[in-house]
């Protein structure tokens, strides 16, 4: 509210985030009053808890005068008791007087567009991403070992048949399959869709491991120590468990550590395009998706989930690199 | 193969290597692969460098050719003079002038030494095009001629084939043909017949002898097989743990062995002569660690005639016979050393 100016036909109200330097620098036009005696204005536009500089210029209905006055205001946030209770800011039975202050929670990484704490969502999303990203590879690598190991050991026509089936699975279009899967599973409201996604990743992910393990098994099968063990009376399952599998462990371990970042990234990607876990379950990918929408005004909503994805994937890749190098040097020292 | 020319006709050797020392920086430390190697190669002769795995024979010739990757490898001392010109430590441009041109090289496994994606004819022609600047057509013509020189039947057809279409022995001939492209004065053959059957080996060795005569080449033959040495060599250098332990004519090495290691190698192989059923005498133990080579004689740990002196004092190269420059790096050749049965010790006083 302000004091009326004699002879004014109305007033224009401006808001700036810093002190205006002149009549042309008054800032954002908020609105006008249309009569000389209307001397109040309510600002409803996106207020934050920071200093604002309001400038009022009197007009005669058409032109503005050359004088204006500016006032600095820092809004205070107010909330009703009921709403505060609703939002969990105070307990219902806490005795509070009007005008008392309550401290809001600290959001270290800010909030999203619905006011949900980013850090909390990221941590929850981590659970989802890591659960899928680690469980899925373990499952499909295990299945790949069994499948590929068996095919490689048996050899012959059965091996060919099994590998052709693996080729078929590889040829399935991944995205289409995921979509069909999602529809097929018919995820209802309230379900997160984590388990179906896990299953889908496993079903489509095992062939590459199977091929790798089969290749290893084929090679190991020809080694002298396998023949020696067979000559000593070793049965098939003994040979596989005692001799073949331990010698494929190196390769399997490396595959695993590279499969994990790939799975995390795939899950993030799928969630990003909306084919992944359903809201409100947070996932880094879906958080990125939401963040894109407010990228210009609130970039933190995009940057943090994207950063988390990148760092996690990088970390696992480096782990894989290190393991490969360590195993390589052990191999070479065996020469 | 006659005895070497007598002392009056002293001609300078084509290749003279002195005190060559090469080491490798590895994860576990510095490996002293070659520790002060001396030898020389005369015109038109075959020098055999013989030793077991790890003795440094391959590293020696590879350093001379300049094909050791120099970050892990380093030539820390020594010189190699080709016709009086130093060839160690050259940059790649200068090295390319003599490598493949004045000195040719063939390797043990032709399958991995030849490019599997080029025809044999193209590979040989490429050498000529790069070094002799001939046209493609001329290169191909000369390639076919070279294949014929190494007695590959159907040379023209073979020149258009890829390495996988050749047998092992045939590929080795192709590789020899390529190495001859620029008329080298020296051919280095690094275990050329180790991977071949004995009948094919005989063919290839005969071919090499024939080519040596017709091309007037010297040959440096690296091998671990004493029988091959006996067949091919005029002079021999025996290597052990990075050093030359004995060098001389082939007769010197076989009939007047002056180093316990040479002697040990001989009695560890079955002979098909009069003592054919005599029990083999192996050399016990294994070669020493080249990360920290022994301060004394490298052979000390395995030598059945080792003396206390040998452990801490490395024997110098002692001259056995001046005319043939037969030398042996062994304290047992010192005039005051004890007599050892089977060992040729002309300088030692046996009366005592």
């Amino acid at each position: 509210m302000w004091d009326p100016v004699e002879g004014a036909g109305g007033y224009n109200i401006y808001r700036n985030q810093r002190l205006p330097e002149g009549i042309n620098d008054l800032g954002l036009p908020l609105g006008s009053t249309l009569a000389g005696n209307e001397v109040s204005y309510e600002d409803r536009l996106n207020l934050e808890s920071r200093p604002y500089f309001y400038s009022i210029v009197s007009t005669d209905g058409f032109d503005e005068s050359y004088q204006y006055s500016t006032v600095e205001v820092t809004p205070t946030l107010a909330i009703t008791f009921d709403e505060a209770i609703n939002r969990g800011l105070i307990q219902a039975d806490e005795g509070r007087a009007l005008n008392s202050e309550i401290k809001l929670e600290f959001h270290p990484l800010g909030t999203d567009y619905l006011g949900r704490d980013m850090l909390a969502r990221l941590m929850e999303g981590a659970r989802v991403s890591l659960f899928i990203g680690i469980c899925a590879p373990f499952l499909f690598v295990f299945f790949g070992i069994v499948y590929g190991g068996f095919a490689g050991y048996i050899g012959g026509k059965l091996d060919q048949l099994l590998m052709r089936f693996a080729d078929f699975v590889v040829a399935l279009p991944f995205l289409l399959f995921m979509i069909l899967f999602k529809i097929g599973f018919g995820i209802g409201p309230g379900e997160s869709g984590v388990i179906p996604m896990l299953i889908a990743l496993v079903i489509l992910g095992w062939p590459s491991t199977a091929r790798l393990v089969r290749g290893q098994v084929l090679q190991i099968r020809e080694q002298g120590y396998i023949e020696a063990a067979r000559l000593l009376g070793g049965k098939d399952h003994y040979l596989i468990i005692r001799h073949i599998i331990p010698n494929t462990m190196g390769v399997i371990l490396v595959t695993l550590t590279f499969a994990v970042p790939a799975a995390i990234f795939t899950e993030a990607f799928l969630s990003f395009i909306g084919m992944g876990v359903a809201p409100p379950t947070p996932s880094w990918g879906s958080m990125c998706n939401e963040g894109v929408k407010t990228m210009l005004s609130h970039p933190h909503e995009l940057i943090f989930p994207a950063l988390f994805i990148s760092v996690t994937v990088l970390a696992f890749n480096l782990l894989g690199d290190g393991l490969t190098e360590a195993l390589d040097s052990r191999m070479r020292s065996r020469e | 193969m006659s005895e070497p020319p007598n002392a009056e006709q002293k001609v300078d050797p084509i290749l003279e290597v002195s005190n060559l020392t090469v080491e490798f920086a590895t994860y576990g430390g510095n490996v002293q692969a070659v520790r002060g190697v001396d030898f020389h190669v005369e015109h038109g002769e075959t020098l055999a460098i013989v030793g077991e795995s790890g003795c440094g024979k391959s590293v020696t010739v590879q350093s001379i050719m300049g094909i050791i990757p120099m970050p892990p490898g380093k030539i820390t001392a020594g010189s190699a003079k080709l016709n009086g010109k130093e060839i160690l430590g050259l940059n790649s441009k200068e090295a390319n002038k003599f490598r493949g041109v004045e000195i040719g090289m063939i390797f043990q496994d032709p399958m991995t030494s030849l490019n599997p994606t080029m025809t044999i004819g193209d590979q040989i022609a490429e050498t000529l095009m790069v070094h002799r600047h001939v046209s493609k057509a001329e290169g191909r013509k000369r390639a076919i001629a070279l294949l014929e020189k190494t007695h590959i039947p159907d040379a023209e057809k073979r020149a258009s084939q890829y390495p996988f279409e050749f047998s092992g022995g045939m590929l080795q001939r192709a590789m020899i043909a390529q190495s001859l492209a620029c008329n080298p004065t020296i051919l280095i053959a690094d275990e050329p017949t180790t991977a071949l059957d004995v009948t094919i080996q005989a063919q290839i060795l005969e071919l090499m002898q024939e080519l040596q005569r017709t091309e007037n080449m010297s040959i440096i033959l690296i091998t671990h097989d004493l029988a091959v040495v006996a067949k091919m060599a005029d002079r021999v250098a025996v290597m052990y743990t990075g050093q030359v332990v004995e060098t001389g004519t082939v007769n010197d090495i076989f009939y007047r062995s002056s180093h316990p290691y040479t002697l040990g190698l001989k009695v560890a192989m079955p002979s098909n002569k009069s003592d054919r059923d005599k029990k083999l005498t192996p050399i016990e133990g294994s070669p020493p660690d080249l990360f920290s080579p022994p301060v004394g004689c490298g052979y000390f740990a395995r030598c059945p005639h080792a003396m206390k002196l040998c452990e801490h004092h490395q024997p110098p190269e002692l001259l056995i016979a001046k005319e043939s420059s037969h030398t042996s790096r062994c304290w047992l050749q010192h005039p005051d050393a004890p007599a050892v049965e089977g060992l040729h010790q002309p300088g030692v006083d046996h009366a005592g």
């Binding site: 000559l231 000593l232 009376g233 049965k235 | 004493l226 082939v250 560890a268 192996p282």
Partner: protein
């Protein structure tokens, strides 16, 4: 006869109607306490013969007998176990014949472990015993193969085979991958063990001089067929079959004078393919003494004397 084969055949079907005649009718006798040397160049089928004999390959045809008992054409794991105390093998490559992830104790004791008749403590004791017997330090049994040299690994392989105390051992190129000075170590060890355990051996190798030295009798193979056999010294110094003669002549001697005086007739042509072979002598296309009918009629085995056999038309 301890071991006998009668027209043993092993063919490999390598697709598209191609049949590889690796072993094409070998009849060989090996008497008790004998060392029979088997030589031949690459493609001769000597390794395949050794492996087929003890059941590592399925037999395609013919028979094999141990102490006049017919050996199965296809060995099951149970068959291998049953015969493990009679038939054993020493492998060629010391680098791939030991499982890199097993300790030496496990490697050498594997046979006993599979047999299941000894406790762990007993196995440990026996392994220590045998490591010492082959000239290794028993304290090293907790180490891994990569910590040993080629010669030492070969000894470990020998201990592994011998600990079961077999009667017949096939030595498949046991020294080819070793240095010269180490070869003699392994050969001496094998001879020693043969004496002390009363073993019978089939010694497969391509080093003619070594085979002559080690074995009592020798047999020569070419492209899957036996071309000549007889007492080692006789065969080596008086070869009858043209291929044997060529082999011996090509074999260099570590003796410069001998090499200088030698007259050499180089072998001609390339080795033919063992795939889809037809009748006729396999060596006919390279034989310097081939007769007209050598290319079409397969030679039969002729007995030259008590112990000497040759498969060549020149002697029929």
């Amino acid at each position: 006869m301890l071991v006998r084969t009668d027209n043993l055949q092993k063919y490999f079907d390598i697709g598209r109607n191609q049949r590889l005649h690796a072993v094409d009718g070998i009849s060989l006798d090996i008497a008790e306490n004998e060392i029979v040397g088997l030589v031949g160049e690459s493609g001769s089928g000597k390794s395949t013969f050794g492996k087929t004999l003890i059941g590592l390959h399925h037999r395609t045809g013919g028979e094999a007998y141990f102490r006049d008992k017919l050996l199965p054409a296809r060995f099951t794991a149970a068959d291998h176990l049953k015969y493990s105390k009679e038939l054993q093998m020493i492998f060629q490559d010391p680098y791939s014949s030991l499982n890199p992830r097993m300790t030496i104790l496990d490697v050498v004791g594997e046979g006993l472990h599979i047999q299941g008749q000894h406790s762990r403590a007993q196995i440990k004791e026996l392994v220590a015993d045998w490591l010492a017997k082959v000239g290794l330090n028993a304290d090293h049994m907790s180490r891994y193969p990569h910590e040993f040299s080629g010669g030492q690994r070969q000894r470990i392989g020998i201990a592994r085979a011998m600990i079961i105390q077999p009667k017949f051992v096939v030595c498949d190129e046991p020294i080819s991958a070793l240095d010269v000075s180490v070869q003699a170590q392994v050969v001496n060890l094998l001879e020693e063990l043969k004496q002390s355990l009363g073993l019978t051996m089939l010694f497969i190798a391509h080093d003619l001089s070594m085979v002559r030295y080690v074995s009592d009798r020798m047999a020569v193979m070419y492209l899957g067929c036996l071309v000549e056999s007889g007492p080692s010294n006789e065969l080596f110094f008086d070869p009858q079959h043209p291929y044997t003669q060529l082999l011996i002549e090509s074999n260099p001697e570590p003796d410069p004078d001998h090499e200088r005086q030698r007259k050499h007739i180089p072998i001609r042509g390339e080795i033919s393919s063992p795939v889809n072979v037809t009748a006729g002598c396999r060596f006919a296309d390279r034989c310097p003494k081939a007769l007209a009918h050598c290319k079409t009629v397969t030679p039969k085995v002729t007995k030259l004397s008590e112990n000497r056999l040759v498969a060549c038309h020149l002697f029929e």
